[in-house]
């Protein structure tokens, strides 16, 4: 029996009049990689951004349904957004480090929480950078600007930045779409390593990538969750005709 980290219950989302997500219901298993795949515009990024309530900032958004994390519905009014986003980290499509030093980038999440203990902060930054496989490349220049790093390094810095708040879940929004194949391979390996300590939810355009690294896959089509299951099964014997057609490259 797998333990579930996040439960999505009857999630509906509208941007203005347009319904983007329709009755999405599934559970994301703990300490596994769950991939969300589907054609462009199917709502996969929108779904991902529901997990840390990043859609809240968009104008005219309406959300119905529940997402349960640690037994609580994150869409309840009493939810503290800051704490939620520390528990649920996010890495974006394009590397977006702040124009600050490498150290300050990683320390950012803790600093906004008012974390003052200098020694502990240094330790956490070091550990996060090690966990993101970046430490050896930057340990001698923690005070130089993050903008000097290569794209792949910047993306690993963003992962370190997300890890620093010790999250339970990390959301990856097509994290390799702006990277070259080598950097992509490294991030893929890293996500596999990360699932030892955190739950990974990854949106990807790249079916090959989903098949390579994910344990579970959700196929989203026109805002509906068409199929969800163990990746191996979904990719070899899809249950739904639409999944089969999508994987076979009939549309996309």
């Amino acid at each position: 029996m797998v333990k579930n980290e996040l439960k999505v219950e009857k999630l509906n989302l509208w941007f203005g009049e347009k319904q983007i997500l329709k009755d999405v219901t599934f559970s994301i298993p703990d300490k596994k990689i769950t991939a969300i795949i589907g054609p462009s515009g199917c709502g996969k990024t929108t779904l991902l951004r529901c997990f840390n309530r990043m859609n809240d900032m968009t104008d005219n958004v309406k959300i119905k349904g529940k997402i349960i994390l640690d037994g609580c519905n994150i869409y309840e009014e009493k939810t503290n957004l800051s704490s939620l986003r520390m528990k649920v980290g996010m890495v974006f499509q394009r590397p977006n480090p702040f124009p600050k030093s490498i150290f300050e980038n990683v320390a950012f999440g803790l600093r906004v929480k008012g974390f003052k203990d200098k020694t502990r902060l240094t330790e956490i930054v070091e550990k996060s950078l090690k966990d993101a496989w970046l430490w050896n490349e930057v340990k001698d220049r923690l005070n130089s600007s993050a903008m000097e790093l290569s794209g792949g390094q910047q993306q690993r810095l963003c992962i370190a930045r997300a890890l620093a708040t010790n999250p339970e879940v990390i959301l990856f929004d097509e994290p390799t779409s702006a990277l070259d194949p080598q950097a992509t391979a490294k991030i893929e390996e890293l996500s596999v390593e990360l699932k030892n300590s955190v739950t990974v939810v990854q949106v990807t355009h790249n079916i090959g990538q989903a098949a390579r690294i994910s344990d579970y896959t959700a196929f989203l089509y026109l805002g509906e969750l068409v199929e969800f299951g163990i990746s191996e099964k979904l990719f070899t014997v899809p249950q739904d005709k639409r999944t089969e057609e999508y994987l076979g490259g009939k549309f996309g």
């Binding site: 974006f92 394009r94 977006n96 124009p99 950012f108 906004v112 903008m147």
Partner: protein
């Protein structure tokens, strides 16, 4: 084929001609001002008050006056301008009221400077009772440069990529923290550029201080912000229009012009150096 080539050559040379004309006037301008004014420059010209009915002596009180007026007007307008632009970009919704505010700021930028002078006279000098003083003049100049600072800061804040804001929110930062820790530090070099432009304007304008701060002649230096002062642009104006001995006074006016240009250049250079340092530190 030959015709197209010809058109191409004609076109590019037309562009070259226009840029040449712009630069020509700039050079003529600098040469003229310096040729007529540079010979006036001396240590005593910069450090002495005017003497003998402003036909001799220096322009020290005017330099000090302009420095005060410029510094105080920027001190007044910079915080208000930057905070307004933060509100406009980060908080204001797109509604009727905000459209009116934006239009008002745009209009303010186009108001002739003499109107600001009259406004300053009515409000600060008379209604508030500040008199003809550094305070009245600085506030008037400050209101005049406010739209410049707001516009420049708005552009600077808008230019901060949304991906930075998203990253900050995703790490648990609040809107306020995002603005203070991410948006402003990223935008500050460009915001300072706006401030630099406005410094040049504040130092050089005559009309806004005409009725609010400037005096034709005073030997003493201001001791409080309620004192009236001499100012470089007004000094030039006064020498050229009210002088009784043009053969002595016109050269002094040109000398004053060189000093005014130099002063603006120095203030700008200092700001540019600060900005450059910040940028280098940020590597952004």
């Amino acid at each position: 084929m030959g015709l197209r080539k010809l058109k191409e050559i004609l076109g590019i040379n037309l562009l070259r001609l226009t840029i040449f004309i712009s630069i020509l006037f700039l050079f003529l301008f600098i040469i003229l001002i310096f040729a007529k004014g540079a010979k006036m420059l001396s240590f005593s010209f910069l450090t002495q008050p005017p003497k003998s009915g402003m036909t001799k002596g220096g322009i020290f009180p005017a330099i000090i006056g302009t420095l005060y007026l410029t510094i105080f007007s920027v001190l007044f307008a910079f915080p208000i301008g930057v905070l307004s632009s933060i509100y406009l970009v980060e908080y204001a919704k797109k509604n009727f009221l905000v459209t009116i505010i934006r239009t008002a700021i745009g209009t303010l930028a186009g108001v002739p400077s003499i109107i600001f002078g009259l406004f300053g006279l009515a409000i600060f000098v008379i209604t508030f009772g500040f008199g003809v003083s550094i305070l009245s003049g600085s506030l008037t100049l400050g209101i005049m440069i406010l739209p410049v600072i707001i516009k420049a800061s708005e552009e600077a804040i808008k230019a901060v990529p949304d991906s930075f804001r998203e990253a900050s929110y995703a790490l648990g930062a609040t809107k306020r923290q995002t603005i203070i820790k991410v948006v402003i530090p990223t935008a500050i070099p460009s915001i300072l550029t706006g401030a630099i432009m406005s410094i040049g304007r504040a130092a050089g304008e005559t009309a806004p201080i005409l009725f609010t701060a400037a005096t034709f002649y005073t030997r003493k230096l201001p001791t409080s912000i309620f004192d009236e002062v001499m100012a470089l642009p007004y000094h030039i104006y006064a020498l050229m229009t009210e002088g009784t001995a043009p053969e002595y006074q016109v050269p002094i006016a040109y000398g004053t012009s060189v000093v005014l240009l130099g002063l603006v250049l120095v203030i700008s250079s200092v700001s540019i150096i600060i900005r450059f340092r910040m940028r280098r530190k940020k590597k952004w």
